[in-house]
Amino acid sequence: MPTEIGTRVVTARFGNPDAKTLPGYERAGGYAQLRKALAMRPEDITAEVKASNLRGRGGAGFATGVKWGFVPKDAKAVHLVCNADESEPGTCKDRELMFWDPHLLIEGMVISAHALRAVHNYIYIRGEMMREYVVLQHAVAEAYARGYLGKNILGTGIEVHLTVHRGAGAYICGEETALLNSLEGLRGQPRLKPPFPAVKGLFGNPTIVNNVETLMNVPAIIDKGGAWFNALGMGRSGGTRIVCVSGHVNKPGVFELPMGITFNQMIHEVCGGVWKGRKVKAVIPGGVSMPPLDASELDVPCEFDALQTDERIKPVMVRPGQPFDLGGGRQLRTMAGSGGVVVMDDATDIPRAIWRIMKFFAHESCGQCTPCREGTGWLEKVSRRVAEGHGKDGDIDLLASISHGIAGNTICALGDAAAWPMLGFLTKFRADFEAKIADRKGKAA
């Protein structure tokens, strides 16, 4: 349940079963923004979204209005696809959002489809989300029956269709081009970019892929305006921020919070502090693909740009003295990612935690690129032997060099997603790895 801190844009109806039904949603003011948007010109909706500084909530934080602007003006057929594949470990907001407020997603999608002049649109929902699939199927049927979807929505002559497409188990299908392949009935393997989906995506047509939370913010932007939404946020990031706080806190949960809230505030004021009276050791700020923060870095806000550039966050190193280069000498600190905040207390076995993360990536690599397929396998093997107390001298350097060999050398960002946290944990918790390896030697002696 969200806290009272700040304004609730997308979680206002959490916990209210009535709002899930179409009549309940309408009673709460639902679909009024669609009526308003249908009377607007598509360009004006996009301009409002640009002004709002809404940024993608799926992981990369890309400006939504700017992305919409990439669709070629003369496009014959355009598609809008909602990414509801949520499977980044530590992230559990999209599932809750769809469960509690399916019509807000549909309303957001129809408004966005109108802005993009997109007729055939899809929600790609993760296969394991069976309960939410049933909820969405029902809500879509209700919306068709009431004329919010169909050939001629609300008598305006505008045609918008929506189909829920169910996945069948594969983390990689959250990557947008893998998702499009899966939607086309292929194996879910990422495509080379460019071309970007906004130019050539689903069925060869310009396609916008947006996250569930991103699209659910659109009705509020139409209602209260882009300037209002921007003012809710911080810097170049409009709106609120949903975080999913899990791990060693007293009150884990999904919370809609101010964009500028710091990790210390989140942990202590919202989540009741660290469990068992312990202290924080590490915090993953945005799903396991992102490098961790240590206890001294938690006064940074969870806002997108702050996590990338705030100098209170130490840069990720390849090895001591050699910062990881994102290109052009840009340093890697961390990123806001998916909003999955995982808190680890000071009794956490860090090598074991990173092993579990590497096991995940090794399992989910789609196998197309050698550095990712082989590299994630090696990261899992070597981190496992370190975690199990059989680490060898040089394993820390080995883990770092494997990670360095993957990062930047693959078709999709899953490679980076494995390499970055590995390097990040080695940078900030090197002593934990050294101690584990030294412990092995102590036992052998």
Binding site: P89, G90, R131, V134, T163, P252, V288, R356
Partner: protein
Amino acid sequence: MSLEFSADAQKKIAAACERYPSKQPVVMAALHLAQKEHGHLSDDVLRLVARTLDLPYAHVYGVATFYTMYRREPGGRQTIRMCTNISCMLRGGYEVLEAFEAKLGLKRGESSADFTLVEEECIAACANAPCAVVGTEYLLDIKPEQVGELVQRLKQHPHPESEVV
């Protein structure tokens, strides 16, 4: 042996074909339906899907073997997907998985007539870790000592994944 889809499944597949510009995207839904009706995706079942959607067998095979929810071997009536990923691991997910193994007499990855036990990656319920999903039912904040009771309840009120398709 030539297998068939039920009339209901045929209707669903025909309706799904209306939603896309070709039949190929319906392969995922057709595989879910085929698994529901035939229990698992044997070679014959894959041929049925290929024939129904005018796709090459190799294409259907490639899709069926890419995604983890499709099974090529028979499984239990219900599938318990127990997450052991980071948030769940930090709050005892492996201990709960071991409790399921003990209660069901199954190792992770194995099946009895009633249950298949799967060690799952994050199921997007991390704020209620450790957790599992069984069809449309989420088992949240599980403690190892509750596992026996949970298994009993699932036996009485089953949630097979096929109920969703």
